[in-house]
Symmetry: C2
Subunit: 362 residues, 2 copies
C-alpha cells in the first residue's frame, strides 16, 4: 500500500466512528462506543497468534451522562483534527495533540495521560496504529539534521554522510566519540540546539532547516558531552552562531547554561565543551505572557531553582535577572511544544523568525 | 593528527603519570599526585576563554595513608589497562571498566561512581578527554547495526541505507514511524536485541555482526513500540530468528516478555508488536553461577518482582520457573556487561556462540 492509500484508509476508519454516531442518532439512539475492558482480567492468550490480547469483556460509553458525552465530544474533536492532519500530510507528537486541545473549550484535555488514552481507544476502534494517524511519541537520542556534510572515521572505515540527504527521519545520530568526526561542508547560517525530540521533529517537518539554513541538533534534555562538543566545534571551527531552544522553566535554563558555560562537574572540560557565544532563544518568561502560552503554575521546587539561579554567576546578566524576576512574579512556566496551541506552523513561521531577527542572526 | 598519533599521545600522557611516581620514589619521596580542588568554591571565570574552569586551589593525594595509597594503586591499574587498550586499538564503556577492576584485588572499585571519578582525575592530569583513552558512556536511542539494507520513505524523499556501510558508529536510528521502512535485503542469520548501549557497542566493536551474520538492535532499556515493531517484522517478513540479550534481573526479564508477548497497556497491538518466536538468550540466573559473574544481592523489590513473575502467565514455562526459582535461591543478579570481568572478548567469543548453538540458531 502506498503512503497515500494508507492515509486515505486511516481517514476513512476515523470518520467511520463519527458516522456510527450519526446513524445511532438517526435511529433514535443516544450515541455510544463499545471498547474492550482494558484490565488484567480481560487479557487472553491467543493460541493462533501466540500473543496476549484483550478478551471479550466490553464496556460501553454512552452520551447519556455528562462525563461520557464530553468524552465522545473529545473523541469527535480528535477525529476532526486527525482527519485534517491526514488530508494535509502533516504529523504531530502526542504532546502537541494535548496542547492543540487548548482551543477546544469543553473538549480540552486535563492532562496528556487522558489524550494518550483516547488515542489508544481510537487505535482499538479503527484497528490501526497511531502512526497511521501521523502521531509520534517524543524521540530520544541526540541527533543532527540539516545542511551539513560530515565524515566519521568508524572501525569499519570512513563514512561520509550528508545530514539531510543520507539519513532517515531520525537524523544523523551523534556518536560517543566525536573526535572521529570531521565537518566537511555546510550550507548553513546557524545552528539551533533543541531540548525536546518533539520540537526537533516539528522543525524538520516544517522544513525550517531548508528555509532558514539551520542545522537542527536534538539535545534530548540535558545534553551529553559529545553533543556539547559538537556544538562547540560547529561554533568554533565552522564559525556558525548557536542558539538554544528549550522549555521555559528553571531546569531548562540550566540546559542552556551547560551548553554556554559548562557545568561544575566537568569544569575541567569547559574549554572544550562550552560554547560561550551560544545564545538563548526561548521559551523566555516574557513569551509566556506575550504569546499567551498554555502554562503551568511554578512548583515550590521551581521557585527555589529560579531563586538559586539569581545568585548563580552564570545567570548574572541584566537579561536573565529581568526574565527570572518576571517569571517569579507571573508564577508560570511553559513548554516549547506549548506553541502548538497557536497552530503547528506558528513556531517556525512566527516565533523563531522573529526571535532570530531580534537577535541579529537572520 | 591521525587516529594513531592521537592514541600514541594519550598513551604517553598516561604513562607520564606513572613515571612521575617513579621519579618521586627515586628521589626518596612518598609518591603523590596533585589535583585542583573540585568544589564550587574553586570555580573561576576565565575572561579569555569565557568559560568557568577550576581555580588555583589544589589538593594533594600522597601514598602516606592507606586510603590514598590504594587510590594511587587503582590509578596505576587503570593506567595499565588503558595503555593496553590503546596499544590494541580497543575501547570500552565506563561500566565495563568498573567490571574489569573485579580482577584487581585491592584495587577493585567499590562502585561505578568511584571509577568514573578516577577517569575524570586522569582527564585533568593528562589534559585529554576520556574519549582519547577510548572510553565511552552508555549510548541511548534505539538503533540497528548489521548486514541489513533498508529503504525509508522520508518527507524529503526515499533513502536507501545499508546498516553497516552507510552509517556511523551509532548505527541506523529507528524512526518513530516504522511503517515508512522497507527491508530490502539482508545477509543475516539472526537478530540479537540488546538491552544496553554498552553491550551493543561491544558486539559492534568485536565484529560479532560480521562473524555470525547478526543484525544488532539496541533496545535501550524497555523498548519503544517502533523498536518492537521492527523486531516483529524482521522475524515475520524476513524469517529471521530473534534472540533477546538483557541483564539477569526480574526487570530485564520483563523487557524480554514485552518483546515476545507484548504488554497489558498495548495488548490491542500485540499482534503487530509482539514476536512470540523471540527467545531469551541471557543473562540467565544459571549463568551467574556457571560463569561466576560479578553480581549484586537481590533487593526486596527484586524478590517481589521475581515472585510476581512466577504467577505471570507469560513466564509459565518449565524453563522460566526453574531459572526464577534458582535466582530466588541464589539471591543474586548480574548485568550483561558483567561478562567484561572475564575479558572484553569473552561475551562474543565464548558466551554468545555457546548459547546460540545450544539454542540451535548457529
Amino acid at each position: 500500500m502506498s503512503r497515500k492509500e494508507m492515509d486515505a484508509r486511516a481517514r476513512e476508519q476515523l470518520v467511520h466512528i463519527a458516522h456510527g454516531w450519526y446513524d445511532q442518532m438517526r435511529d433514535g439512539l443516544v450515541p455510544f462506543i463499545r471498547l474492550p475492558t482494558r484490565t488484567k482480567q480481560n487479557i487472553e492468550y491467543n493460541d493462533e497468534s501466540e500473543v496476549w490480547t484483550y478478551g471479550e469483556k466490553e464496556s460501553m460509553r454512552s452520551a447519556n451522562s455528562e462525563k461520557s458525552a464530553i468524552h465522545l465530544l473529545k473523541m469527535a474533536y480528535v477525529i476532526g483534527f486527525l482527519k485534517q492532519q491526514l488530508a494535509e500530510g502533516r504529523s504531530s507528537t502526542l504532546r502537541e495533540l494535548y496542547y492543540i486541545s487548548e482551543g477546544w473549550k469543553r473538549a480540552k484535555f486535563g492532562a496528556q495521560d487522558e489524550s494518550n488514552r483516547l488515542i489508544e481507544d481510537l487505535e482499538i476502534l479503527t484497528d490501526l496504529q497511531r502512526e497511521a494517524f501521523h502521531l509520534r511519541p517524543e524521540e530520544d537520542g541526540a541527533a543532527i539534521f540539516g545542511p551539513l556534510q560530515i565524515r566519521e572515521s568508524t572501525q569499519r572505515g570512513v563514512r561520509e554522510i550528508h545530514c539531510q540527504e543520507n539519513v532517515g527521519e531520525a537524523g544523523y545520530p551523534i556518536p560517543n566519540n566525536v573526535d572521529t568526526l570531521d565537518f566537511i561542508d555546510h550550507d548553513a547560517k546557524f545552528v539551533i540546539a533543541i531540548e525536546t525530540g518533539g520540537m526537533y521533529a516539528r522543525l524538520m517537518e516544517n522544513g525550517f532547516d531548508e528555509e532558514y539554513g539551520a542545522i537542527l541538533v536534538n539535545l534530548k534534555g540535558q545534553p551529553a558531552r559529545s553533543t556539547r562538543r559538537v556544538l562547540r566545534r560547529l561554533n568554533e571551527a565552522m564559525d556558525l552562531p548557536v542558539v538554544v531552544f528549550t522549555d521555559g522553566d528553571p531546569w531548562s535554563y540550566r540546559i542552556y547554561a551547560s551548553v554556554a558555560y559548562g557545568s561544575i562537574k566537568s569544569a575541567h572540560m569547559s574549554e572544550r565543551l562550552a560554547t560561550p557565544q551560544a545564545q538563548f532563544i526561548g521559551v523566555q518568561p516574557s513569551d509566556i505572557s506575550d504569546y499567551n502560552l498554555p502554562s503551568d503554575k511554578l512548583t515550590e521546587q521551581d521557585v527555589a531553582a529560579l531563586k538559586s539561579e539569581l545568585t548563580d554567576p552564570r545567570f548574572a546578566t541584566d537579561y536573565w535577572r529581568e526574565q527570572i524576576n518576571l517569571q517569579l512574579e507571573m508564577k508560570l512556566k511553559s513548554e516549547q511544544q506549548a506553541f502548538a496551541s497557536r497552530g503547528l506552523d506558528f513556531v517556525t513561521k512566527e516565533y523563531l523568525p522573529n526571535r532570530l531577527s531580534e537577535m541579529g542572526i537572520i
